[in-house]
Symmetry: C2
Subunit: 347 residues, 2 copies
C-alpha cells in the first residue's frame, strides 16, 4: 500500500461497501471490502476536504441504516454498492475549506474507507486535545453519554441511575459521569467479565449479567429496592419493559439506542401505558443537536476528567479496514469489550 501524500495523483482506496440490504442479524457477508482508486484533489472553489481516515467508530445504530425504510430516518439508509459512513477521526490531506488545512486532525462523519472526499465538512470538527489517543474522539470525547445523562435525563445528585449495555462505548461513560455527580449507579452487561469491569474499573455501585438473570424485573428490584430515577436506555425490548415496572414517579428514560431491537422484523412489545401512572418521561436524542459552545465546554470538562483519572475508558480496537465488517457484526453478539473502533491508519 502506497502512503498517500498531497499532490500525488491517485491512491488506492479500500472501502467497506454494503453488499445487500440486511434482514435479521447482519453478517460479514452483507458487506464487502473493495479496492478502488481516488484522485487526490478537491473540486476547485468548493469547500470540500479530502481526508485520510485514521479511526472509524463502530456503532450498533448502523444496523438500522442497512435496511431500506419507507419513511426516511434521521440519517439516510445505506445503499447497496456504496461505501458506509459514520463518525471517525481523519487527517486532512487537501482542503478547499478555510477552517481546515492539510495535516489538521478532524473528527466527524466520514466514509468507511481509506480516503474520503467530504464535499462540505459541516459535521467535521477540529481535534483540540492531541494528548489523548485519537480514537477517544469516537468515544469518550464524543458527547453522547454527557448530553444524554445531563440534558435529556437531567440526572441529579442522589438519584438512582440504571444503565444498560453499560460496558459499551456510551454506557461506561454514563456510569462514571453519574458517579461523579453523586448518583447511585447500576449497570447491566452480557458477560461476567463485563460486569466485573463495571464494578472494578468504572466504579459502578452494582452490576448484573442480564444473560444469567431468569427475571430481569427481579434483578432490577434487587439492585433498586427504591426504584429507578433515570434509565439510560441502550437496549430496548425486555429490559425496557422490566425497567418501566421499576421506575420511580417522574422517572426519566433517555433513549440513546435499542441494540436488542435492530435485528427484529417487528420490535418487542412494551406496555407504554405504564408511562402514565408514574409520569415517566421517555426522550430520544441525537448527539448532533448539542453543538457549538456546549460541545466545546464539554470537551474541556471531559479532557480534565481524563487527565485527572476521574474518567477512564476501555476500547476494543480492530486492526485495519478489512477488520471493519467483523467488528461491526460483533457488536450484536456482544463480542466487543468497551468502545469498538477500527484503526485504518495510525497517522
Amino acid at each position: 500500500m502506497a502512503a498517500a501524500v498531497a499532490g500525488e495523483e491517485e491512491v488506492t482506496n479500500r472501502q467497506v461497501i454494503l453488499k445487500r440490504y440486511v434482514t435479521g442479524c447482519p453478517t460479514v457477508e452483507d458487506m464487502e471490502v473493495v479496492t478502488g482508486t481516488l484522485r487526490l484533489a478537491v473540486p476547485p472553489g468548493s469547500p470540500a476536504v479530502l481526508v485520510k481516515n485514521l479511526y472509524l467508530s463502530c456503532d450498533p445504530y448502523m444496523r438500522t441504516r442497512m435496511t431500506k425504510h419507507a419513511v426516511p430516518s434521521f440519517v439516510p439508509d445505506y445503499v447497496p454498492g456504496k461505501v458506509l459512513d459514520n463518525c471517525g477521526v481523519s487527517k486532512v490531506v487537501l482542503s478547499g475549506h478555510p477552517d481546515f488545512k492539510p495535516g489538521d486532525l478532524l473528527w466527524g462523519v466520514t466514509g468507511w474507507e481509506e480516503y474520503t472526499l467530504i464535499p462540505n465538512p459541516v459535521f467535521c470538527h477540529m481535534i483540540n486535545h492531541r494528548e489523548f489517543p485519537l480514537s477517544y474522539y469516537t468515544g469518550v470525547l464524543g458527547l453522547t453519554a454527557y448530553a444524554g445523562l445531563f440534558e435529556v435525563a437531567k440526572a441529579k445528585k442522589g438519584e438512582h441511575v440504571f444503565v444498560s449495555a453499560a460496558a459499551g462505548a456510551v454506557g461506561q461513560i454514563v456510569g462514571q459521569l453519574a458517579k461523579l455527580t453523586g448518583c447511585y449507579v447500576v449497570g447491566s452487561a452480557g458477560s461476567d467479565h463485563k460486569v466485573n469491569l463495571l464494578k472494578a474499573k468504572f466504579g459502578f455501585d452494582d452490576a448484573f449479567n442480564y444473560k444469567k438473570e431468569l427475571d430481569l424485573n427481579a434483578a432490577l428490584k434487587r439492585c433498586f429496592p427504591h426504584g429507578i430515577d433515570v434509565y439510560f436506555e441502550n437496549v430496548g425490548g425486555a429490559m425496557l419493559d422490566a425497567v418501566l415496572d421499576n421506575m420511580r414517579h417522574r422517572g426519566r428514560v433517555a433513549v440513546c439506542g435499542q441494540v436488542s431491537q435492530y435485528n427484529l422484523e417487528r420490535p418487542d412489545s412494551v406496555d407504554l401505558f405504564r408511562l402514565v401512572g408514574k409520569h415517566i418521561r421517555m426522550e430520544g436524542f441525537l448527539v448532533s443537536e448539542y453543538a457549538g459552545e456546549y460541545r466545546r465546554r464539554f470537551e474541556e470538562e471531559m479532557a480534565r476528567y481524563l487527565t485527572e483519572g476521574k474518567v477512564v475508558c476501555v476500547e476494543d480496537v480492530a486492526e485495519g479496514i478489512e477488520a471493519a465488517p467483523a467488528a461491526l457484526v460483533g457488536l450484536f453478539a456482544g463480542r466487543n469489550v468497551g468502545k469498538q473502533v477500527v484503526v485504518v491508519a495510525r497517522e
Copy 2:
C-alpha cells in the same frame, strides 16, 4: 327505592361489583349490580364523609384495573366481589371532615354505588360552579385535557396538534383548547358522525375516521404535510406507530391513555427507536398531580370559556346505576359519543 336522608338508620345501596378478573374485551357479565344496605353513619372522630353519588365517570383506563397485575399500577386493581371506584360527583350526607358539611357537592374518587363511605376524602374537592351541569366535573371541568396539553405537551401557538379518540371526553376538550391557543388541530375518531362533530361542533381544522383509512400513515401525511409537533395520545398501538413516523423534530407525545391496548394480552409493538432520530419526548401524566392553586385557576379559566361559549362539550349520559356496566363496556366499541357518564341520582 327509599330516598336517603341523614339520620335514617339504613338505606339500600345498589353497587356495581367486579365479578371476575377480565381477559380480553370486558363484557357486562364481568360485572354485577348487587343490592346491599348501608348504615348512614360515619365513624365517630374520623374524617370520613358519607356521600350520595350523583354522577359516575366511565373511563377506559378502568379496564386496566380489571386485571390482576403482578406489579401494582398507580391505582389498585379492582377486586372480584368488591365495588368499583372512579371519579364522580357526589353530595355529602354526613361528614366528620371539617371542610365538608351535609349538602355540599363534591367531585372526586367515589364508589360505583348509590352511597359511599369515604374514609378520608383527600381526593374530594368542592364544586365551585353550580351554574353548569354537575356532570361537567367528571369531564370538561376535570383537568386532564388542560394539564396534558399545556403542562406535559407544552403546546404553543402555531404548532400542529394531533388528537386521537378526539370525540371522546378528553379529546374534544384538548382540540378546543389547542384551537384557542392558535394551533392547527386534527383529530381522529371511529365514525363519520364523530368526525363531523369534530369539525362542525368542536372546530377542529380537520379530522378523519381511522376505521375508513387503509393506511394511517398516509392519513396523517395528508393532514400534516409538515409533520406533527404535539400528539395527544389516547389510543396507542397502530395509531401511535403511525404518528411516530410523522412527528417533527422535538415533537412531544402526551400519553393520556391507550384505549386500543387495554384488552390485549400483549400490547402492539411500536418502534421506539424513532424517538431518537427526531428527539421525540413521550411523557405520561396523571391529572391528580396537578392540584391546589393550579387546579383552582384552571377551574376559573375553564368556567369562563364555558360561559363565553368558547368551549362546548358533548356528553353521553346513561341513566341509572344498572346502566353503568354497559356504559363502561360500550367505551371499547366506541358506542359513546363524547364523555360517558352514568347518572345515579340527579340531586
